[in-house]
């Protein structure tokens, strides 16, 4: 055995679209360098090779939605020195967490002819609800350059440099004209965490919050602004209840949006 072994990387999937783990393969210029710096121990989407744990760095995509997953995440945690969640499903339940606000039995019957064949939990929950998470990388999907920073940081045993400021900061840096001020377009930028590069405003549309809440989001003010721009309470609730509905700040804002509407 050589004394300095390469760090072992594992990538596991829970309920998700596969897009965040695809981001690893989308690092076309860096993929072979990353693969050279680590031993890929378990990454089913990319390799038939499966090595047993423990793993030095584990990336987890997806949310917990089945009885088996409740056990699987515990086993994965036990085998992982550091566990990083990647994307909105793993950090905030994902779009499939909309079941949390509905009757999952009725959902099951609406989609499947034989609902009795389908095993599912009533909720879709983020990974941190079940195990300790060392770092949460935001985004639906994640930004692949942020992912490279996180992998690099963990391999170097330093903290990742991932800003938690709002999309507005990125948008200003990019030199965009503000879509709210100039065009009256509803935009979640002020309450949403940066990381995407403010792409929606760059395409003349409002941010739709896919990176989840920034570190100090003023969602009450945002709700008032959205109403002023003509959105009905139910619409305001929907914008908070999309890809990050279980992030605490967005979850509370979704509930408050309709209560505010009832008062008004």
């Amino acid at each position: 055995m050589p004394a300095a072994h390469k760090p072992r990387l594992a990538v596991f999937k829970f309920a998700s679209c596969d897009g965040c783990q695809l981001s690893v393969l989308d690092c076309e210029d860096e993929l072979l360098a990353v693969a050279g710096a680590v031993d890929i121990a378990d990454f089913r989407e990319a390799s038939s090779t499966v090595l047993d744990g423990p793993y030095d760095l584990t990336l987890v995509e997806g949310s917990v939605t089945t009885p088996e997953d409740l056990h699987r995440i515990q086993e994965i945690r036990a085998q992982s020195r550091a566990l990083v969640t990647i994307g909105a499903c793993a950090t905030a339940g994902g779009i499939q967490a909309l079941r949390n606000f509905a009757d999952v039995e009725e959902f099951r019957k609406a989609v499947y002819a034989h609902p009795e064949y389908i095993k599912t939990l009533a909720t879709s929950t983020p990974i941190r609800d079940h195990v300790t998470v060392d770092f949460e990388l935001r985004g639906c999907p994640i930004n692949k350059f942020q992912l490279l920073e996180v992998i690099t940081a963990f391999l170097a045993r330093r903290a990742p440099n991932i800003p938690t400021e709002s999309v507005c900061i990125e948008c200003k840096r990019r030199g965009n004209v503000c879509v709210v001020v100039a065009h009256g377009t509803p935009c979640l930028g002020p309450v949403t965490q940066a990381g995407c590069g403010a792409i929606c405003p760059s395409f003349h549309r409002g941010c739709y919050g896919c990176f989840g809440p920034q570190d100090t989001p003023n969602t009450d003010s945002m709700t008032k602004n959205l109403a002023r721009l003509g959105m009905a309470p139910a619409e305001v609730q929907r914008v908070f209840r999309t890809f990050n509905s279980m992030a605490p700040a967005f979850r509370a804002a979704g509930i408050a949006a309709v209560k505010e509407g009832e008062k008004a």
């Binding site: 596969d18 072979l32 693969a35 090779t49 989609v111 389908i118 599912t120 929606c200 929907r238």
Partner: protein
């Protein structure tokens, strides 16, 4: 009396979570079950009550590999329901965005997921140690597809620029021309890819398929068209539900499609190529001839060559669109002022086959009912049929060889299990 089971509990190098179980009794294949255990996410249920405007962004999250397909099929369906049609430069930009997704997805499948099977490697990283140039060229090709999606859509996964009626913002000519040199290079790489994959060794297998794809009067199908088959089917998307049905097998979280009153069918590159070869661009047709690709491919292992030919097409088509581009007067066709209750049907060609969406809207434009049929659900039954025929002919192989063969057979279809809910675990029982 002997009983054998072949089991793959988690299929690798496919998108999503699936398993395979084959039960053999006295040299007869009794059961083939492609199990999709990707957890259900209930998109069709939670789309109810959402605005028609939200469908492209929400349904894109069904699949990180082919989000553009979901955006295009949902736009087609909603636009039909709203009574608007998208033409001219905006429609061309949709095809251009779709070319980006085809290049990215086909390059991913050819080099990172499928080629290692033919050359005996567990993955592309191991392949790169012995064949670095091949893998680097695959990554370079994939990168151009992603760059095209990023240029038009802001990012490669879940692009943000698609809306009902068109785009939020259309690019300038200069923005599009900036990517031209990369696409010229990608076209050459795609041709090299076709030559490379045509030189692989293929098992000798022929299957009898009903091919189903879209067909357009004068284009190779991408974002729209009629649904046709090699057995005389020709229907508009609105007749899909009358023609196909979904059945729910007890072992799967995905619904399987069949022709009503008929059996399984195949959608995807082999079907598109068989039914639309006459619509391929010039260099794509030329390379198909050069590498000796038969006009109708019935050996599923050779689908890798068809994907390469389609990648040549996608690069050439992207260049054609860029060269002819004049920015449209408006980036989107606005929705009508008054909505009525309406139903819309939309189909487009995802890299792995046709993707069907149907929505019923109320007078406020809220979704009352949604139906989405992913290409992998449609191919699932056909994959099982292929496996049954393959295992029947290969009963003398040992477990490891048989299991490996089954996994390879499944990867021929580039299944996307995140889509079909999601992929694979082989469980082979020999009674």
């Amino acid at each position: 009396m002997t009983e054998r089971t072949i089991a793959v509990n988690y299929l690798a190098r496919v998108e999503g979570e699936g398993a395979l179980r084959v039960r053999i009794h006295d040299r007869t294949v009794e059961e083939v079950e492609l199990k999709i255990f990707e957890p259900p996410r209930f998109f069709e249920a939670f789309l109810r009550g959402r605005s028609y405007r939200e469908a492209p962004d929400i349904t894109a999250r069904i699949c990180g590999i082919c989000p553009v397909a979901y955006q295009m099929s949902s736009c087609n369906a909603m636009e039909q329901a709203l009574g608007i049609s998208v033409t001219g430069a905006v429609r061309e930009l949709r095809r251009l965005l779709y070319c980006g997704e085809w290049i990215e997805s086909h390059a991913l499948h050819i080099y990172l997921l499928h080629a290692p099977d033919f050359l005996g490697y567990p993955d592309a990283i191991a392949l790169a140690k012995d064949h670095p140039e091949a893998v680097k060229q695959g990554l370079a090709l994939k990168k151009v597809g992603n760059a095209l999606m990023t240029l038009l859509g802001g990012r490669e996964i879940h692009p943000v620029n698609v809306r009902i009626g068109g785009f939020y913002r259309c690019p300038s000519r200069e923005e599009l021309e900036a990517i031209r040199p990369d696409l010229v290079h990608a076209l050459e790489l795609a041709e090299t890819t076709a030559r490379f994959v045509a030189g692989l060794t293929f098992p000798k297998i022929e299957e009898d398929y009903e091919f189903v794809s879209l067909r357009h009067p004068d284009e190779y199908p991408l974002a729209d068209g009629e649904i046709v088959s090699n057995r005389g089917l020709r229907i508009p998307p609105s007749k899909y539900d009358e023609t196909f049905e979904e059945i729910h097998a007890p072992y799967s979280n995905a619904l399987q499609s069949v022709r009503k009153g008929g059996g399984s069918y195949l959608t995807g590159p082999m079907a598109r190529y068989a039914l639309n070869r006459d619509r391929l661009s010039a260099r794509a047709r030329k390379i198909a001839e050069e590498v000796g690709l038969e006009p109708i491919v019935t050996n599923p292992y050779r689908s890798i060559i068809v994907r390469a030919v389609e990648t040549v097409f996608a690069c050439e088509e992207a260049l054609r669109i860029i060269d002819a581009y004049r920015p449209p007067a408006a980036p989107f066709v606005p929705p009508p002022d008054r909505l009525g209750p309406a139903t819309g049907y939309g189909v487009s060609e995802a890299p792995r086959g046709i993707l069907y969406h149907r929505y019923r809207l109320d007078a406020q434009g809220l979704i009352q009912d949604a139906k989405i049929v992913a290409p992998t659900s449609q191919n699932q039954k056909r994959i099982e049929d292929d496996l049954r025929s393959l295992v029947t002919r290969s009963l003398d192989l040992d477990e490891a060889a048989l299991t490996n063969m089954c996994e390879r057979a499944i990867r021929n279809y580039d299944p996307c299990i995140s889509c079909a809910t999601h992929f694979l675990d082989l469980d082979l029982v020999r009674d």
